[in-house]
């Protein structure tokens, strides 16, 4: 799923500093699963903003609601007659949310409440880790299911760099060196020779470097 972190409260306060009537929209999709943008978090943000404004003597009106997802126009459309009567809307969805909203309601000002970060999963309750960088050409089968493109700081494809020590990446000792895992796994499974294969220079066109991407399913698209 898409994993995000909530923006610091001060930053959100500045965004809506001069708005009187605000709508906070949660999203029941990925951001609910990673506990950052669901209805519960929407209520918490709304209440925090109310406390902040109330303290500074400039009370504001904040409503909170939640959409099934903010990445399908039909759900966005549900706010048709509501979104107008606010002078600022905060979307707690991933980066897709504020953009779909802005496209649907050009005259309204939309603000992101979360910083979208990566595709990943929950290694334990409350801790999510990046697993995929969306390079568009999946090669994890070469590395026994451990992707160096997403999980090596330098996306190296032929083994650990000189800085890997004690299984940790040179940039920080809480970041696992993925190549250390790949090499150990290959050794355990007796498939070390796979790493002798020379991987030609990767074709990055399918990645973000190839420009904004679209995915079209002929049989579905009208």
């Amino acid at each position: 799923m898409i994993v995000a972190d909530r923006k610091p409260l001060v930053e959100i306060q500045e965004m809506v500093a001069n708005s009187r009537k605000i709508l906070v929209i949660g999203c029941k999709g990925c951001v609910t699963v990673c506990n950052v943008g669901g209805l519960k978090e929407a209520e918490i943000l709304a209440s925090s903003l109310r406390i902040g404004r109330n303290k500074n003597g400039k009370p504001m009106e904040i409503d909170e609601t939640v959409l099934e997802r903010q990445c399908d126009p039909e759900y966005i459309a549900q706010l048709k007659d509501k979104v107008g009567n606010y002078d600022a809307v905060i979307s707690m969805a991933c980066g897709v949310g504020p953009q779909f909203l802005s496209e649907a309601y050009p005259e309204q000002k939309f603000f992101p409440a979360v910083n979208t970060k990566f595709f990943g999963g929950a290694v334990q309750h409350g801790i999510w880790e990046e697993r995929c960088a969306g390079c568009g050409t999946c090669v994890i089968h070469h590395y026994d299911g451990l992707c160096p493109i997403a999980r090596c700081s330098k996306s190296l494809q032929h083994g650990p760099c000189g800085g890997s020590s004690k299984g940790k990446c040179e940039i920080a000792n809480d970041v696992v060196c993925i190549w250390d895992l790949i090499v150990r796994k290959k050794m355990e499974q007796g498939r070390l020779d796979d790493l002798r294969l020379f991987q030609p220079a990767k074709d990055w066109r399918t990645a973000r470097d190839g420009g904004p991407r679209r995915s079209i399913r002929e049989e579905l698209a009208s």
Partner: protein, 1013 residues
């Protein structure tokens, strides 16, 4: 009357309302029998109520027992008869006539609300037995604040009849003309649980117990207790100084034939002494030096040995193996102890306080009851009971449990209580639900759609509330609150007459939400919920404002603020009341059958018990024979013949119509919730199913086995054997054993070490029993027992005395240098060990070495995972609560018994098996179980299927159903609400504690409503 027409009464008399009496009463009342619970003192609770903390978990005793006290006080089918004693018992099993003497209490328990005004004005003081004489109580008294029944009593021989208490009693509860009454009760059977009393050290002056700083362990317990005289602040009675050094003397009044005439070991003093050292250290702000003087440290129960080593290694408690003869008071309240170290060196030490770990003696009631009922006593003047029928007395139909038939700790007492409950009602099963009362309730009118119409009832509670807060003002204020249609205030809302008027008012003004502003919901919510239910209202349409315990009682000195706070609390309660919805519990049907896994003695006794209670029992055994470990035993510690008992038991089980036996079978699939489980059984060898069992409860009795020692050449020499090998040899080839001249027993082989940090409990007794038997057959034989601690607890101490008398040599070794076995080249085996008295190594060349090997749990990882039951680090099954639910599992409907729980002797296994039956019967005896109420409910379309609730629930109850959203089953949810506030999508609500209700209550505190029109 011929046998057939013999009357079977559906009621039971329980004498003694300590923790054992209460447990037995609850089990029977919840299984369809009416219970008369008689106790000499004005309230229930017994010794446990006086304890501060309990070992080995250091839980606070009162927190553990008070829910049981409240339940026994309120239970529809338990009739608590305080201040009374059993006078006579006529008739026989199934049809007894009991004559009860009701001593006058001079206060009517129905009227008294426990407000305590009489205590404050009473001019007469007397020794406060509850605090063991540390402080005084008034002639009009209540044993302790949480007493049940919550009513005062007048101590007639202290009271001078001045009449002051009647003057101040607004409830008019004082009845000076109360007389001794005699009542007759017709009961089916009788359970005696009069408990025990602590030895009184005054009988011997060498302990100089008259000195204020020499206290008994129970007094020290009161000193430590937060509700005790010193409010839990550890101080010396003499001058309230905080002690720097405290000594505990073990075996005061136990194992002491010359001074105290008590030969038995009281089983619990070692453990409670260690607990008291640990709790004392926690209570003292400065470094506290604690020393325990003991002979044998007898920590034989589950997790007891770990507790002992934690005290020794981590908490720095000093354990000095020496028996102090006398205590010598010295200047400014200190005490000098002279003792001899093991090395022979004599030492003097000054202590600020000395605690005498006093042992048990039978309560004074035991002697009189035995005389009146014609029951036999043993030499120590406790009730005599056997091993094979551990809770039966010498009179048929009269059973016993708890300390009155032998000193024991709380878990063992509670186990025996449940066992007595199941045995006492086994042949009354035809009269089940015949004598019990079921509440007649009118149909519930449906108010859910209607606009809230709230009735507010403000209570004065005599002067407890009215004397501080302005109750009329509170009542008038309540009128102004939204949706309030009726307000009234009365003297005692909980009194019978007010309850009736409440019902009437509810019907007249068709009130659909009731708020009572009075005392604590913890004690009175069930009472009021029943009342409004009788008025046709769903019992959850009710909210309380605690304006007494948490307002007037604690803000006595500023009444106006107390009144303002009362108004706030009422406004908050009304605000929540507005959003309360009726909750309907769902009735799950119960399958009247019990599954028992494991065909050893425990399993068979459980199956027989369930069948005797009239329920279908399914006994599953993975081998091809019943009997388990018992096949290898010969005699119980009291000498009863095990093979004969085993043969009889197997015959009864196999022929019983209500027991279906599955040999070579193991469960492979298990689903369902309490009351209706489904288990699939498979044949071990062929693997194909041989039965699908529908049952309401399950008992796991998977048993244990003897540890095969690694060291000491075991297995490669015929003259080195374990206890079971010795028993085998004594049975089959006695000659091989008898022509040995010297035999050495080595204790704690495989137990009490780092891999198995527990004591296997039975090996000391087993060694003593065999040593005595060998000595009697061949007095000339030299027998050496090499031990770390001889743990012959309870009456087993007599075996230790007899063995020493017969000339068995006992040599103590430290774990650091255990006995060394070496084989000389001529294959002669010698044992070298350092004698603790001579302090020099001695060499013995025995003809036979017997290793007291540890007891291990049978390995059933797969089975335990199937039933989702926890095992501890050593592989033993983990019970729900060590003290008060020793045979239940955490998950409802599952129970345990036998060696799989912890090593125990055969009589303790039988008791635990019968206890498990009693617990299981409380489920299967009902035709339906009400589930639901305050439980979590999932709103599917808000659920993001994110598994947060699956991870957050401490009991692992929520799961993702195949409809694609989280599912929480009403029968299983415990109602804690953790998942509700973790759920990121706000998809789960905890009924009766919804967000809307709690936020409304919060908001109401700050939001002054506009005047009600």
């Amino acid at each position: 009357m011929t046998l057939a027409e013999k009357r079977k009464l559906g009621s039971v008399l329980v004498v003694g309302a300590g923790v054992a009496g209460i447990q037995a009463s609850l089990d029977m009342a919840n299984s369809g029998f009416y219970v008369h619970l008689v106790d000499r003192s004005p309230s229930v609770g017994g010794i446990m109520a006086q304890l501060d903390k309990t070992f080995p978990t250091n839980d606070c005793a009162m927190c553990v027992i008070s829910p049981f006290l409240v339940e026994v006080g309120r239970h529809l089918n338990i009739h608590v008869i305080p201040c009374s004693e059993l006078e006579r018992l006529d008739g026989e099993k199934g049809d007894f006539k009991a004559t009860i003497v009701n001593h006058p209490r001079y206060i009517d328990t129905e009227k008294c609300t426990g407000c305590g005004q009489c205590r404050q004005v009473c001019p007469v003081v007397a020794i406060n037995e509850f605090n063991c004489g540390l402080d005084l109580r008034k002639a009009t008294y209540i044993p302790y604040p949480q007493a049940v029944p919550l009513a005062y009593a007048i101590d007639r021989n202290a009271c001078i009849g001045c009449g002051m208490c009647e003057k101040v009693c607004l409830a008019g509860a004082v009845t000076y003309d109360d007389k001794t009454k005699i009542t007759e009760l017709e009961v089916g059977s009788v359970i005696l649980a009069p408990g025990g009393e602590m030895y009184d050290p005054k009988e011997a002056d060498s302990w100089s117990y008259s000195h204020p700083n020499v206290v008994t362990s129970l007094e020290f317990e009161r000193i430590l207790s937060a509700s005790g005289p010193y409010r839990g602040h550890l101080m010396r009675p003499y001058d309230r100084e905080e002690p720097e050094k405290i000594a505990w003397l073990q075996c005061v009044g136990s194992r002491d034939i010359n001074r105290a005439k008590n030969s038995h070991c009281s089983s619990v003093c070692c453990m409670y002494a260690i607990k008291q050292t640990m709790i004392a250290k926690e209570h003292s702000a400065h470094e506290l030096d604690t020393a325990i003087f003991y002979m044998d440290m007898r920590t034989y129960g589950k997790d007891f040995d770990k507790y002992y080593s934690r005290a020794k290694e981590e908490r720095g408690v000093r354990f000095i193996r020496s028996r102090v003869h006398s205590i010598e008071p010295v200047e400014n309240g200190n005490l000098r102890l002279r003792y001899v170290k093991e090395s022979g060196e004599s030492v003097e030490e000054i202590f600020n306080m000395v605690v005498l770990s006093v042992g048990f003696k039978p309560s004074s009631g035991v002697e009189t009851i035995a005389k009146k009922l014609g029951l036999t006593l043993n030499e120590q003047h406790f009730f005599r009971t056997g091993d094979i029928r551990p809770v039966a007395t010498s009179r048929d139909g009269v059973y016993v449990c708890g300390v009155s038939h032998g000193p024991k700790d709380i878990p063992q007492s509670v186990m025996e209580a449940s066992a007595a409950a199941s045995v006492a009602t086994s042949d009354l099963s035809s009269a089940r639900w015949s004598a019990t009362r079921t509440p007649q309730l009118p149909p519930e009118t449906d108010f859910s759609k209607m606009v809230p119409r709230i009735g507010v009832f403000v209570c004065n509670c005599g002067i407890n509330i009215g004397g501080v807060a302005d109750v009329p003002a509170i009542r008038e204020y309540a009128k102004t609150l939204p949706h309030v249609v009726h307000v009234e205030d009365n003297l005692f809302t909980c009194s019978q007459d007010t309850q009736e008027r409440m019902k009437q008012v509810i019907r007249e003004k068709n009130i659909n939400r009731v708020v009572v502003a009075s005392c604590s919901p913890r004690t009175h919510e069930p009472l009021f919920q029943e009342t409004i239910r009788e008025a046709g209202l769903n019992k959850y349409l009710f909210e309380m404002a605690n304006i007494r315990d948490q307002n007037t009682w604690v803000h006595k000195n500023n009444p106006d603020l107390a009144t303002a706070k009362a108004k706030d609390l009422v406004r908050m309660a009304v605000a929540k009341a507005e959003y309360i919805e009726p909750l309907h519990q769902v009735k799950l049907d119960v399958k009247p059958a019990v599954l028992i896994v494991g065909g050893g003695v425990a399993g068979m006794e459980a199956a027989l018990g369930a069948a005797e209670q009239g329920f279908q029992a399914y006994l599953v055994e993975k081998t091809d024979t019943l009997g388990g470990m018992a096949h290898q035993l010969r005699k119980t510690w009291q000498g009863e013949d095990i093979p004969a008992y085993l043969e009889r038991l197997i015959k009864d089980v196999t022929n019983h119509s209500k027991i279906q036996i599955f040999l070579n079978t193991k469960p492979v699939h298990f689903t369902g919730t309490i009351g209706s489980f489904t288990t699939t059984l498979n044949d071990i060898h062929t693997g194909n199913p041989n039965g699908i069992i529908e049952h309401g409860a399950a008992i796991l009795a998977t048993g244990g086995r003897e540890y095969r020692p690694e060291g000491y050449q075991y297995g490669n020499r015929p003259d080195v054997m374990t206890h079971l090998d010795l028993d085998q040899a004594m049975k089959d080839t006695p000659a091989t054993v008898m022509n040995a001249d010297t035999i050495v027993f080595i204790q704690c082989v495989g137990s009490r070490n780092s891999d198995r940090p527990y004591c296997s409990r039975v090996c000391c007794t087993h060694t003593l029993k065999n040593a005595i038997e060998l000595k009697k057959i061949k007095p000339g034989m030299n027998i050496f027992v090499m031990y770390r601690d001889v743990r012959s607890y309870g009456f087993r101490e007599s075996l230790y005395q007899e063995a020493r008398a017969l000339g068995v040599h006992f040599i103590r070794f430290d774990p650091e240098n255990p006995p060394q076995m070496n084989i000389a080249e001529n294959n002669i085996l010698t044992i070298t060990v350092t004698d603790h008295i001579l302090q020099r190594p001695i060499v013995i060349s025995p003809d036979l070495v017997v290793l007291a090997a540890a007891v291990l749990p049978n390995e059933n990882k797969e089975l335990f995972e199937l039933f989702k039951v926890p095992v501890n680090a050593e592989g033993f099954l983990v019970e729900a609560h060590a003290k008060l639910r020793p045979v239940d599992f955490g998950s409802e409907g599952l129970f345990l018994a036998g060696l799989a729980h912890y090593p125990k002797s055969i009589d303790e296994s039988i008791a635990q098996a019968r206890a498990a039956v009693s617990r299981a019967v409380t489920i299967v005896s009902k035709d339906g179980i009400m589930v639901g109420g305050v439980v979590a409910a999932v709103n599917p379309d808000r659920c993001a299927v994110c598994c947060t609730c699956v991870r957050a629930c401490p009991y692992g109850i929520p799961f993702i159903g195949n409809e694609g959203h989280a599912v929480i089953q009403q029968a299983e949810c415990h109602g804690c609400g953790v998942c509700v506030s973790e759920c990121p999508g706000k998809a789960i609500t905890l009924q009766h504690f919804t967000d809307q209700q709690l936020i409304a209550k919060t908001r109401a505190l700050f939001y002054q409503p506009a005047m009600n029109e």
